[in-house]
Amino acid sequence: MSFFDLQGTLKPLTALKQFGKKPHTLKDIPWKKREASDRYRGLHFNDLDECIGCGNCSTICQNAAIDMIHLEGIEGKKGDSGLRPRVDNGRCCWCALCVEVCPTGSLSLTKDYIYVTEDPDAFLWTPGVDNPDGAERKSFVSDKDHSLNDFNRIPMPELEGKERVKSFAEVVLGYNEQQAREEASRCISCGICTEVCPDHMHIPEYINAIASGNDKDAVKIIYDNNPLPEMCGKVCTRRCEDVCAIATRGDSVAIRWLKRYATETAATADLTHEIVNPEIKEANGKTVGIIGAGPSGLTAAYYLALRGYDVTIYEASAKAGGATMYGIPKYRLPIESLDKQIGYIQSIGVKINFNTKVGKDISFKEIYDKYDTVFMGVGFPDAWPLGVDGDDAKGSMQAFRYLYMINAGDKVDIGDKVVVVGGGNVAIDAARVSRRFGAEVTILYRRRVADMPADWEEIEGAEDEGVHIIPQGIPTKIHKDDKGHVTGIEYLKAKMVADDKGGRPRPVAIEGSETILEATAVMAAIGQMGDYSFLPKEFEDKIKIERGRFVVNEKQQTGDPKVFAGGDAVNRTADAISAIADGFRACKAIDEYLSK
């Protein structure tokens, strides 16, 4: 200790040189705010218009900090729950997981971080309302590359285009188990999709069941309000996928394919029965007559039978399924699949009288009197003709009839050059079926390709298979040879003119742009219509038909309280899931009506 350490005493004194240097203190704080970094995780901001209220932020928040609340001025609509997140800043830890999982990217964190108050109740923070100017100060955002949502759908394995046209084998191969689990786990379970589903299927629940590996539960949940799920899983128009929260920035969850996967695991009717294990109520002695074994009729029949009613279906064709059986080509919906589902429906006690056309084989009056209530799911058995010159030529036909005949096993002569007029699914189906018979197929459509009402997958599939599409063409005349056979179709090119009333643009023909397409067959696929000739006049007045459709109330009840109706003959959307929804609604209404 007596040793004096000179260096050890003097060297520290060099620290005093710091006295002459400028301090690095940030002296503007707290009077001036210091800009946070470009990635700073500060207070939340939400773009209220972009947000769809899916509530994923609320679910991921491990602190239960985010509530979904009603905000004034924001109404729910399809694809928007109408709720908006509110953050409890007394819970938030600014981990920004809510941002990372926001499917729309509306939620972000800002550079603002100072919020000081004396009132502990003032820490409820509605992003976007409390900081309307936050958009300029966004820092931690989740763009498409960074989002934890999986925006890319697991691609569905399909047959090659060249392979497909060789046969009527099913084009879509379906997910295997792993693909299904992966695809199902993309779902964020918000349930926004259920609102647009006409049938309000329990989509998040069954997808969740698939994701967690419980396929049987998924099947059971699916069968809760849809007795033809495998059909839906293959051909549904799936409006649910349009509003899918994930679809705001990427591919929607393949809801349809997942349903297909789940129901395909129930490979036979017996197996389906075993899995669904339906609870059939004791017969209550009441009877229901159903006209038409289409989706709506089958649905009503199935759920009524479950509720203990004695149900009998009258079907004009040899097979049940209606438009799904006869209107949809087999490469999309194989007969076996439909047979399996109908077999299952029959297995719980639904009776179907095939080849019994009401109005011909049995009169409507008879059915009306025999049963306690009647449900009509008669569909649209006829199609609109093209209505141009030469419409009556041989080889000019309705696509819908064509499909019916093909599906019924008949042979139709179409030659080798087919022109299909129209842009709906029926047009595409007809085109693709014709392709499978080796014809060269052209689709003629009035508007642009993007305006086609058919599924984009179908359009792509058709193009893959070599179908040629001519958009913006308005057919004016069908040319025929001396024998009355079609030789070609003449059309005018059209330009798109914006609609003054704000509707979608209209095609307007360009004068003098006539073009002629060679054709051996022309198929019109511009819509179907109903055939109500089976109804005697007395009923027709009572039941009321307007614009070619039955008039029903919200319970599917027609003017005659005993008669209910559903399906294409009632709703304007004219797809299978709407028909199923009608049938399900009608079932509940009939149950209510008869239990009174």
Partner: protein
């Protein structure tokens, strides 16, 4: 003269000004927010230039910073320390945890609402609040003191029964053993 209303008011104004510019912070890191206290008090942010200074013992301290979550075990000590402090005294709640439980809202060992146990003058948002926010909160506290509204200590005495009841709820054995306020 001192009892004259006006001069009393003037004296109080001066006193409050002095109080707001000389705030001694109790060195008690109750939670994770304490990590941002060191930058706040040291060279980069230097809270001392605003009159903040560390105080080693509760007797000398003016403000207690509850830096985040409080476990049940800590609450007891915090209450004791708070009661040892001499009025006027202030409490600043840091971050989410003091407001509504924060991350640990479902933890069996942390309290959720600080204001049920102690009167809180200012809350600072954040998890944890960064030094700039801490300084903003502290200058808010200065403002409140200057306005004469920082009367947490009086509030605590007025509602002592209520506070004690809440404290007893989480620490039945401990508070019962201890005398009230007579540390």
């Amino acid at each position: 003269m001192y009892n004259d209303k006006n001069s009393k008011k003037i004296v109080e104004t001066i006193q409050n000004w002095a109080r707001s510019h000389s705030i001694w912070v109790l060195a008690y890191g109750t939670g994770c927010g304490a990590i941002e206290i060191s930058p706040t008090m040291t060279s980069r942010y230097d809270a001392e230039r605003l009159g903040f200074r560390g105080a080693a013992t509760p007797r000398q301290a003016d403000v207690m910073l509850i830096t985040g979550y409080l476990t049940v075990k800590t609450v007891k000590r915090v209450v004791r320390v708070y009661e040892q402090m001499q009025s006027p005294k202030y409490v600043v709640g840091f971050g989410s945890c003091t407001i509504n439980g924060g991350m640990y809202y479902d933890s069996y060992n942390t309290i959720n609402l600080l204001d049920r146990y102690l009167p809180v003058d200012v809350y600072i948002n954040g998890c944890m609040p960064r030094p700039e926010a801490v300084l903003a909160g502290l200058s808010k506290l200065q403002q409140i003191i200057r306005e004469g509204n920082a009367n947490g200590a009086e509030k605590y005495l007025e509602n002592l029964a209520w506070y004690k009841e809440n404290q007893r709820k989480i620490a039945p054995n401990w508070i019962a053993k201890a005398p009230d306020l007579n540390w």
